[in-house]
Amino acid sequence: MEMTGRLASVTRHTLADAVRERFGFSFHVVVLSGQVLLDLFVLTAEVGGIAYALQLATGVSFPIWAAPVGLALWSLLWFGKFVVIENGVALVGLVTVCFVVGAVWQRPPVMELLHGIVPSIPREQSLKYAFLAVSILGATISPYMVSFYSSGAVEEKWDESHLRSNRVVAWLGMSFGSIVSIGVVTMAAMVLAPRGIEIERYEQAAWVLAVPFPAWGFWLFVASLGVGCFGAALELSLDISYIVAQGLGWQWGEDLRPRDDARFALVYTGALALAAVPIACGVEPLELTLLSMALTVVVLPFIVFPLLVIMNDERYLKNHRNGPITNAAVVLITVLGALLAMAAIPLQLAGS
């Protein structure tokens, strides 16, 4: 994220703009198609997550919620401004801090917690845990975040004076997400593992907060699931419109009226309609989420490597190019994640 924010601040280019300009349209259209498909897949999972949160809250089955959820998302995109969507999502997303508070409240053994930082593969169900590790990695570094962030920076007209705030925003944002993820995993380890509960459905995930905090834990889980998925769905819908419009050279911008960038608005309208269909047909959102997150890691190298080439190109970044440590870290995480994903996904699909 920091890299694409830097790219936007220095060059006023979004990632899609820069890739099309640097590598040509023929190459870009391949990457674009892959990313649009992946974004659609993840968007479907997020729509499913919101619908499932509503099912938990009301008892009405999640397929029924697919169309109202799609309509609510569309309305916000159609009538809302970028800053409202961005700040609104960030503000209500703070509800997920409950997982961090809960994890601290549970008083996990510190030494075991620190030991968990070192990557390891458990002897039992190693395939399942590898698949979960890949999914968590995919949820943490999704390609849509990269292109969405650069588009947002251009929408907000960032320039070189924003480089410092870009660094702070990227670090704080990613750290916040990572700390919440650690909170969720810690809560699962403290609440579910001792009872031998393995999560197969979202209902079981609700127990992470419902068991230790009977009075309000269930409702906090429902709010976290709904709000988290709603924010991600808004960003994904916009991202699909951004990358298609930028890739094909259309007028784009969430702050423009839909009549001024009709094709941009048409893309997110179509994407939301497509994403709602599988959920309305009853496709299980949790399985879809895990699979879409794991597929993200497979696709990631095709997004990251063009970005790396651009981030090391003096013509674009001048004296703000990547250093060797950043390059090495990005290559290492991306390649290892993709290798693990390519091994784990087919085996998990074949075995389960």
Partner: protein, 132 residues
């Protein structure tokens, strides 16, 4: 190097023994039983919406039945082992279904709770005997 070993382990993990397949299904059924026991406890049942408790018990019943079928399909497992494990999980599925109906009908009574605990204990005893 560590990651290559991990990838190798992942590959090997695809080939699990009959005991492991049955053990995994038993442990997952046990997880559902543990969760059902937790949400029907006096502490939680009053705080959770009744539709959630009923739906969860119904989902748990269907999941347990699916796990019973999985165990029953592991033909390489010794007959006694397979039969008693399948029966224990199927008993759990039946109890969960009855509990779901009871919650739908109003409230979960003491007899249903006792039956749930008994079925949970039965699955737990079987799960201890198999790896997962």
């Amino acid at each position: 190097m560590r990651w290559w070993v991990a990838v190798g382990l992942v590959g090997l993990a695809g080939c699990s023994s009959p005991e492991e397949k049955a053990g995994r299904a038993l442990h997952q059924a046990q997880g559902w039983a543990a969760a059902a026991e937790a949400i029907t406890s006096d502490r939680l049942v009053a705080a959770l919406p009744a539709h959630f408790v009923a739906r969860t018990l119904g989902t748990a019943a269907r999941a347990a039945e699916a796990h019973a079928r999985t165990i029953d399909a592991v033909r390489d497992l010794a007959d006694d082992e397979r039969r008693s494990s399948t029966d224990a999980v199927r008993q759990l599925a039946t109890t969960l279904e009855a509990s779901a109906s009871s919650v739908h009908g109003g409230q979960l009574d003491a007899a249903h709770k006792a039956a749930l605990l008994e079925a949970y204990a039965g699955v737990m005893a079987r799960a201890r005997s198999l790896p997962h």
